[in-house]
Assembly symmetry: C3
Amino acid sequence: MEKSVREISDFLDGQIIGNHEKKIIGIAVLEEATETEISFVTNKKYLQKALETKAGALILSEKIQTNATQILVKDSYLAFAKVMSLFFVENLVPKISQTAKIHKTVFLGKNVFIGENVFIGENCEIGENTKIFPNVTIYPNTKIGEFCRIHSGTVIGSDGFGFVPTENSVLKIPQTGSVKIGDFVEIGANCTINCGTLASTEIGNFVKLDSQVHIAHNVKIGKCTLIAAQTGISGSTEIGKFVQIGGQVGIGGHLKIGDFAKIGGKSGVTKNVKENETVFGYPAREINLTKKIEAVLRKMAKK
Amino acid sequence: MEKSVREISDFLDGQIIGNHEKKIIGIAVLEEATETEISFVTNKKYLQKALETKAGALILSEKIQTNATQILVKDSYLAFAKVMSLFFVENLVPKISQTAKIHKTVFLGKNVFIGENVFIGENCEIGENTKIFPNVTIYPNTKIGEFCRIHSGTVIGSDGFGFVPTENSVLKIPQTGSVKIGDFVEIGANCTINCGTLASTEIGNFVKLDSQVHIAHNVKIGKCTLIAAQTGISGSTEIGKFVQIGGQVGIGGHLKIGDFAKIGGKSGVTKNVKENETVFGYPAREINLTKKIEAVLRKMAKK
Amino acid sequence: MEKSVREISDFLDGQIIGNHEKKIIGIAVLEEATETEISFVTNKKYLQKALETKAGALILSEKIQTNATQILVKDSYLAFAKVMSLFFVENLVPKISQTAKIHKTVFLGKNVFIGENVFIGENCEIGENTKIFPNVTIYPNTKIGEFCRIHSGTVIGSDGFGFVPTENSVLKIPQTGSVKIGDFVEIGANCTINCGTLASTEIGNFVKLDSQVHIAHNVKIGKCTLIAAQTGISGSTEIGKFVQIGGQVGIGGHLKIGDFAKIGGKSGVTKNVKENETVFGYPAREINLTKKIEAVLRKMAKK
């Protein structure tokens, strides 16, 4: 594919400094880009590298002193995402691998990709244009929407953790519910999503889970929520829409996390989080409180 | 299945308020239950929903103002577990999947279920009535007892982390031991249980592991201990019986955790924990100390 | 295999107290060792057991009062590793399992072992003498060096977490890079290593990852670095050589961790770590600062 800087800038609503007609045939990182490639600065830490890059053009949000042609945009990370999608169009080639084991009662939408050694149990539904990578396990009664991507090693619908210790043994609570996953959901590698105990565990449209995320039974997650790697959500917790959750966060059971909330990496959330609130820490507190506590601790330790 | 409220109450040693002869044909959550279903309140947060439910009968530990028939019990969570087991009897249908790869030296007990793509290495034993879900990997020399359930993606018997850095490389300590798992053990999805270095890693009867739990080499876990998701136990640590460990807990190596101890979610345990002790925090401290510290910190930050 | 105490001691550069000619035919833990076996003390906690052992010989770094023959060495853990390697020579028996799905474009070196149900995508390379255990998934464009060991359930090359929320949906950043893994690398069970966004995620020679470790896109890890279980490294972070990272550590994105640094278990690293520095805590601080803070907190809570 070949695009001119002008075409790329128009696509991004950007402003060009330099050669509008320069031809760009690819994207590369600052260290590796060449004269016919475009690169980008999405983090100030890389400004020095941007000054030294051999890229023919740069996407960034503030002008720098360079001979490379620059496309200035409001949000360079969003612009980067857009240009990546422009150059790299993923074509889903539908396929049902011969080694996949799909129960005869499963409903498969059109144009699905089912990778090697995938297991899909009875009464599942897989929506159109969804891609299931190799070695994924999907327990019975799981419904997955359209245009989803489920990465390898992920297990969907396994039993939630419901046990009651008795005097001399442990009683299991049968886990008889299901999992419902919306459209345009992406789930990273080696995640685990438990079925509901009686009702369902639900993941909304456009939710994106990183690798090794754990979602316990009866959890509900609103649309467009992002959850980074190794985070775990305990049973029956309800998470709003457009929530952003960092890596290795733990959220207790039976809590509510409001829409647009943000939860900092490695936080341990023990209480409800309000709409738009940002929390951080273990235990998670309003972020400024946690920062203030850290400052106080450092001062005290110096005495 | 149909049961009268009287039958259910008798089974639970409960006390009925309302219609003893009401017929119940199923269990459902408060929001979804209908006139012929029983529901339950196991957490005070759901009392409002209980007042609004259309369930024909309710299991709870305190009387509420409702027209629904109530069964009052001492422990509503235990009662819920019992009624679930009454209505949902899991019938293990024995099966050895054709895609399972089971070494010829493996001893399989009667009535086992071995799912698709399961791998079982040499000299393993799988006890009677045990169910291994699809895509589980069991390394050589693993012994699993009776009536166990091992969920998908779990790996049992892989090498423990034994390495010694030298001047210009890293020396591996061969991991030559085994894993011994008792009876009635349930292991969630995507767990990892390492083999012992020389001797064995041992998991007692009725132990229940949630998803993504990691058990390192040479660990011993006593009977009826429950471990929530994403918790990791470091090498050679010994955990007593009836211990309850929250999610995302980390326990250091070569420690002893006493019987009936409780460890709060996300704690980082660096010292032995006594019998019956409850610890919480990072580093884990006696729980009241951690609570006091949190209160002091909040007060200081307000100044 | 039979070795005399003299031979073992010579191999370890040790000093013998007792019978130089005693014949040793195996290694065992203190509790289980017999007269013809050698055992070891690598942790002072086990000195009492060492006094009671029936082992014919002991490896340790300080003399104790016992009738067993002793081999005194400078570093008993290193010596243990060496003796283990002496007695347990892992012979890799090359094999490509029939159930493995290997794309026709994959380059396989000599003497590789590819376990059951392994999936290897297009354009991958697997170096000589490397062992891939069952149920591993390797995405396209992954290069793995020689003498590596990749344990079951691990997923290499899956998409990194690159998403940008927009007003009413979430935009995916295509992940088009690769993974490059050096020689003598061992990767534990159920790990996830993401491909680079544009360039590559790189893991140096002799790096050892424990189970359930997560390595995000574009991360670089220097040679001989050890990472314990359930640790996660966020995107674009660079880790030096001979770094030691405890279990359940989280390291933020775009950071640099210097050579020979040490990071204590469960730390949350939010800033660069210098060469040779030891950090611990959440947030991670220079270890003595964290210890001082803990001491101050305990004192304050007692008032």
